[in-house]
Each structure stands twice: as C-alpha cells, then as structure tokens.
C-alpha cells in the first residue's frame, strides 16, 4: 500500500524566480533556480536587461568622445575602464605618457578600486542579512572618495578624466593633502568593516565552505580578479604583466586557499589595504610638476591601422579592450572584455548542490555589476 501511495505522488523541482528587481542590489539580473527541497539542481541566468549597444555606439565616437562612454560601461570602477581604453589607443599611436600623468592615473585608479570594494562590502553584508549596517558603514567612505574625485574631475560618478596621452586637466593644488585626508578616513572604514564582519561567527558560518571552486575549475571557466585569486591562482595583472607604472611599487597580492565565499571576501578586504599602500607610495613618488599630456599630440587623434588588446586589473577582474582600427579617428571595432560577464558564466557550476540561501551569497560574492555584464 505504501508503494501505491508513492506512485500517486509526483515529486517535481520548483522553479524559484529571482527576478530583475532584487532586494540585494546587483542590478537588473534575473536568475531562475530549480530547487529540489532546499538544494539547487539548476541555475538559469537571464541577462541583457541593461544592454545598450555600447560597443556599436563607440564605433561612432572618436577617441575623446568614447571616454565618457567607458565610464558608463563600468560604473563602479570607471577609471579602470577609461585606463584600458586610453592605453589601447596610446599603444596603437605609440604615444609616451609623461610621468606625472602616469602617477596620477595610478593614484586615481587605486582609489577607485577602494570605492568599488567598499560597495562590495556594503552589498555583501546585505546579502548575508546584516540589515544595512555594513552598507551604512561602507558608504560614508565611498562618499569621501567621491568628493575627492569631484574636486579633481568635476563629477561624482562619470569622471571622463583620462585622455589619450595623459589627463584632461591638471589636478587641484591641494590634491596630495586631500588624498592623505581621504586615506585616513578609508583606513578607519576598513577597520570598521573588518571588525563588524570578519570574525563574526555567524558570518563565517554563512560564508565558509560555500561555492567552492578549485584552481583548475577557476582557470577553466575564465575567471579573473579576486575570484581567481581566492581559488589559489596567484595571477594579478599588476604583478605578472605590469602596465603603466605599477612596476615601481612594493605591494602584496593576497591569494586564498579554499576558493570559497569567505576567501573571496578576505581577498577583497586585503586588497583594499594594499591599495592604500600603493596610493601612499605613489603620492610619495609623484613628481611635483611636469606636463600632464604628451607633447605634440595632434588635435584630431588618428590611429594607424592595426589592432591591439590592452588589459588592466579592474576591481572585478581583467578588463580588456580589443581595438581594431582601419586608420581614421574612430575605431572600426571595439570589444570590451568584461570580467563580470566571464565570472557570471561560472554561476551555474558554483551553485549546483548548494542550499538556496547560499545561492544568494554566491551571487553576492561574485561582485558583478550589470553594466559590465551587458555593456
């Protein structure tokens, strides 16, 4: 009789839809999880809600107009995106960027890494369930950084400050002193977040052993950035293929051991401290005066025909710009290799056989930003 009962009951997997509007702010991303009781058996991501045709639009913009669009393609690590783009053009045109401009670029890019990781800390705490405390501890620090960027470039989020051959205009007179002030605040913020989250036993219980990815799996799936380093692969573009003036600084690259969510959090926390150290060294080495744009640049920037792939270590991974030019002042084809897109493609493999509550944590630990995924 029991057997008959069992035959008349059907066991199905429930599809749970985490729709385009999330409580945890990752952007417009839709995830359909097929759930068997509490375990995920399938994950189907749906992207494209933020696709704006960026790569096609940039084919109609010359090399100064396109910089504003690079900001919008990666709105949390804008300077990394701008840097990759102008480095690609500089490499094609064989332009030498003056020293002072390089140092200021590095300082601003690393400060941007700090503000992007603060955003991660805030949003990750909310995913874990801290009800906003981590968010409100991280965002005043981001506000200090944004005020500094507003003083220098004029805008709080879409800076459009780098140009081919250097910078758009000179920094403010009290730039070095303001950077030091901001760094004091950020160090306080990093300490606060560390104390709030890192050793909290409940947080560790939520993060440890979740979404484990081995080094081979990480390399096979094309991950980069903190996700790759947390899995044990010591690959950082600032160390292995240094660009700009990164070969003049002493810093350390944190590498995890277990590849789980907690390691990714720790790697990003440690990266923030290393960014502070790089900025301090760069502020020391900054030449007091010098040109900020390469000399003898033509008014209309024309690149010789050719193709180039330039990459930088963005806070999310490897941001690459593949530029094909047929002469002329606009690109023929511009492809942006976005780290969030590649990282997100590994979501299914990471989420299989995990609890439902963990799928949210794994998505949070990837630190995706949808403008980057969809462009």
């Amino acid at each position: 009789m029991v057997a008959e009962h069992e035959r008349s009951l059907e066991v199905v997997d429930i599809p749970i839809n985490m729709g385009p509007q999330h409580p945890s702010t990752h952007g417009v991303f839709r995830m359909v999880l097929m759930v068997d009781g509490e375990k995920c058996v399938d994950v189907i991501p749906h992207i494209g809600y933020m696709h704006r045709g960026g790569e096609k639009l940039m084919e109609a913009m010359d090399f100064r107009q396109g910089i504003g669009y690079c900001d919008r393609t990666e709105y949390l690590a804008q300077f990394s995106a701008e840097l990759a783009y102008v480095m690609a053009v500089e490499r094609l045109m064989d332009v030498q960027v003056p020293e002072r401009a390089e140092y200021i670029r590095v300082i601003l890019t690393e400060l941007n890494r700090l503000s992007s990781h603060f955003m991660f800390m805030g949003a990750f705490g909310i995913d874990a369930g801290v009800f906003g405390t981590s968010f409100t501890y991280a965002f005043p620090q981001r506000e200090y950084l944004q005020e500094l960027f507003e003083e220098v470039s004029g805008d709080r989020l879409m800076y459009a400050y780098f140009r081919v051959g250097g910078l758009a205009w000179e920094v403010t007179d009290n730039f070095v002193q303001r950077c030091h002030e901001v760094l004091k605040h950020t160090q306080q913020g990093i300490r606060d977040l560390d104390e709030l989250l890192t050793k909290n036993e409940i947080f560790i219980a939520r993060c440890q052993g979740i979404g484990v990815f081995t080094a081979e799996q990480a390399i096979a799936n094309g991950l980069s950035g903190p996700m790759l380093r947390a899995s044990g692969v010591p690959w950082d573009l600032r160390k292995d293929e240094p660009y700009s003036v990164y070969d003049r600084f002493n810093f350390e690259v944190p590498v995890g051991n277990y590849g789980d969510v907690y390691d990714r959090y720790l790697v990003r926390l440690e990266e923030m401290r290393q960014s502070v150290s790089i900025v301090e060294q760069a502020l020391e080495q900054l030449p007091a005066e010098g040109p900020i744009v390469a000399e003898k640049l033509p008014r209309r920037l024309r690149t010789p025909p050719g193709e180039v792939y330039s990459k930088v270590e963005a806070p999310r991974g490897e941001w690459g710009v593949y530029l094909v030019s047929k002469g002329g002042d606009k690109p023929y084809r511009l492809k942006m290799r976005s780290p969030s897109f590649s990282n997100l493609s590994a979501l299914r493999e990471m989420c299989l056989d995990q609890f439902l509550a963990d799928a949210v944590m794994i998505l949070g630990s990837m630190d995706i930003v949808l403008c980057c995924v969809d462009r």
Binding site: E38, F249, P254, N257, Q285
Partner: protein, 389 residues
C-alpha cells in the same frame, strides 16, 4: 499565596477582567505602534543615520502616518486562497500574543488576573502562535508562502524546547511556577546570578521565538520574497508586524521578571507603584535594546544552521543545567553551587560557538605574494623635464 488584588477593583470579577483587558489592549496597541518608532530611531543611530525626522517633531507622528497608510490600502486576497485559513491566520497570531499579558504582574498590585500557574499559562499560550503561521502559509496558496510557513513552524517549535528548559531551570531554583512568586523570590539577588546559563539560553531562544534577526527566516528571506506574509496587504499585514512587536514585549517582560528581578529587586515591595513600574519598564527596555542591537549587528543564519544550533547546542546545555540543578536540590548544596555550575556551562556554551565555525582544522590564512618594484622613477634631468622613462 496571593499577595495582590486585581488591577481594577469593582465587585464583579468578570467585569473587572473585561475592563482590565480592554484598558490593557488599548495601551498595548499604542505601545507597539511606538515600538516601531523607537526601533527605527535606535537602529538608525547604530548605522550613522537619523531615523524618521520629518513627520512631527523627531518623527513622533510617523507611526500614525504609517497606520493611516496601511488602513487605506486595498485589501487584496488571492482568488484561490482558502478563505477560512487566510482570514483566521492573522487572528491566530495576534490573539495569543496579547493573551500572554493577562497573567503578567506589572507591579506588585497591578495584575489583570492572578493565576497560580502563570508561567505555565504564558508558555502554553505563546506557543499557540505557530498555528497562525501554518494557516497563513497554507491559506495563501503560494509556494513561497508555503515554504515560509513550514520553516516558520519548524523554527518556532524547535526553539520552544530550549526556552522552556531554561525556564524550568529557573523554576527549580525558585520552587514555584508562578511568575509572581518568582519575582518575590528575588528580593536580595536577581536570578541571573544563580542561573546565567538559563538567562543566555532564554535570550537566544526568545529572539528566535519572536522571529527577529538573526533568526528571521520566515519574515526576511524565504527565497528573497516576503515569506509567510506575502499575500497579505494593508491592515492585515500591519497586524502581523504588530503581533511581532507584542511578542517582543511579552518576552522582554518575561525575561525581566524571571531573571532580572522585576519590580522587586533592588528596592522591595515597600516603595510605591510609581517606582515599581519604572523598574519594570527599565528592565524591559534593557531587553528590547538588546534585541535591537542584535538586529543591527548580525547576518542571518541559514535555516539548517538555525535548527542544528537549537537541537545540538542549546538543548543539551539546558538539559545539563537541569541535571545539575536537580543534583544541587537533592543534596541540599548551598546556593553558590548554582552559580558555579551554571557559570561553567555558560562558558561552555560560549566556547561551543567556535565549533560551529571551525569544523576540523583551523583555517589557513591568506597567502600574500609579494611584488617588488623593478623600476624606479627616473630623476628629472635639469635640462629636460619629466620626459620618458
């Protein structure tokens, strides 16, 4: 032996009771509305922000504005919802929460109904509320609500056990099941000194019973939707929220009376009702500030971690406490033995948190791969400035 007279002294006891209940319900309703206000203000202060500031001075009219908004909302019900279960669920949660207060002595003389076994009554009635969650989960005819309801019921039943066991430890020390007698027992030393483990377990289990963070699986997560209450709107939803606050007040009062000495310690019953009421309110507020503090600090636990914490950690420790209490009572050891055994068990409980986190060998720290500078900034030559490197 009953020391107290009922709160309102008219000759008919039935009318007494009704008037007491009505008066109390009105006070409580306003009280929980303002519980939302100070929760928002205090939690905001812990997060670098101000709470409500614009509606009235210091945002004091905010709960009234919220009530108006909720009253004027459209009252939706899913077409396929089970009518009886859907409607009844709200009341099944709200009414037991309020019924607890009938047996609670606010001061030495203010009591709606003196019940000889009041602790038993309180625990029995507050345990009824999980039926409301099941009814809401089933009656909403939505898979999120169903899953949320199941989880809520499982959580509530699981955490009833350590709650009751911790209170049984306290009952064994005071030799009475009446909350009134337990308060009178504490005229020199509050019960927290003799039973610190009971206090800690009661604290943790009461957060779970009230379903506040970090144990708010039914109301917070449940597949990133609203959980059990997903299909309720307007005034029904606000009744759920308010019943959560009423529960919070109930457990705070219970904890204040049983473990912190209520209105008896440190001044005794000789002082007037004003000071006694003040003591009650202050001790209850300590509990409530603790609940808010915990809400702002911790992430949420996963449902299976929550259950395993209750069954594998809290229940064994509270059973051990009962065993030692019995030992002390049978062999008539001095009271200090209570403190020693309970203190050791509390230290054990604190240490057990380590085992939840560290299964196996301790975690290796991050490796730091050093990067050394391989180039130097070129010195600017006197003739040319800042040229290529």
């Amino acid at each position: 032996m009953l020391l107290s007279a009922p709160a309102i002294d008219i000759d008919q006891p039935f009318v007494n009771g009704i008037l007491g209940v009505v008066a109390f319900t009105l006070v409580m309703t306003v009280g929980v509305m303002y519980a939302t206000w100070y929760e928002r203000k205090i939690v905001a202060r812990m997060q670098y922000r101000l709470g409500p500031t614009r509606t009235g001075p210091f945002g004091l009219l905010q709960p009234i504005a919220d009530t108006f908004k909720l009253l004027t909302k459209e009252d939706l019900r899913p077409a396929t919802a089970d009518f009886v279960a859907f409607e009844l669920a709200v009341f099944m949660i709200f009414i037991p929460a309020l019924m607890v207060f009938v047996a609670v002595p606010f001061t030495a003389d203010w009591l709606i109904s003196p019940i000889p076994l009041s602790l038993l009554y309180i625990l029995a009635v507050s345990g009824l509320s999980f039926i409301g969650f099941l009814l809401a989960g089933w009656g909403s005819d939505s898979k999120y609500a169903l899953l949320g309801g199941m989880r809520a019921a499982a959580q509530l039943i699981s955490y009833e056990v350590p709650l009751i066991l911790a209170l049984i430890g306290a009952v064994m020390v005071t030799a009475s099941v009446d909350v009134y007698q337990m308060i009178l027992y504490q005229d020199t030393v509050p019960l927290i000194v003799w039973q610190p483990l009971g206090f800690v377990i009661f604290l943790i289990a009461s957060i779970a019973e009230v379903e506040r963070p970090p144990f708010d699986i039914p109301t917070g997560e449940s597949e990133v939707a609203g959980g059990v209450f997903i299909e309720y709107s307007g005034i029904r939803w606000s009744m759920f929220q308010l019943s959560s606050y009423v529960n919070m007040y109930a457990f705070a009062l219970l904890g204040a009376f049983v473990f912190l000495g209520g209105w008896e310690w440190p001044f005794g019953t000789e002082v007037g009702w004003g000071l006694q009421l003040l003591l009650t309110v202050v001790k209850m507020s300590l509990f409530i500030v603790f609940y808010l503090w915990v809400r702002a600090s911790f992430p949420r636990l996963r449902p299976d971690q929550l259950m395993s914490y209750a069954w594998k950690v809290l229940i064994p420790f509270s059973l051990a406490q009962i065993f030692f209490n019995g030992f002390i009572i049978v062999y008539d050891l001095p009271d200090i033995a209570y403190l020693i055994t309970s203190g050791l068990l509390t230290a054990g409980l604190a240490y057990s948190a380590v085992f939840i986190v560290r299964r196996g060998e301790p975690r290796k720290p991050l490796q730091m791969v050093p990067v050394r500078a391989t180039a130097r900034r070129p010195e600017p030559a006197p003739a040319a400035e800042g040229a290529a490197s």
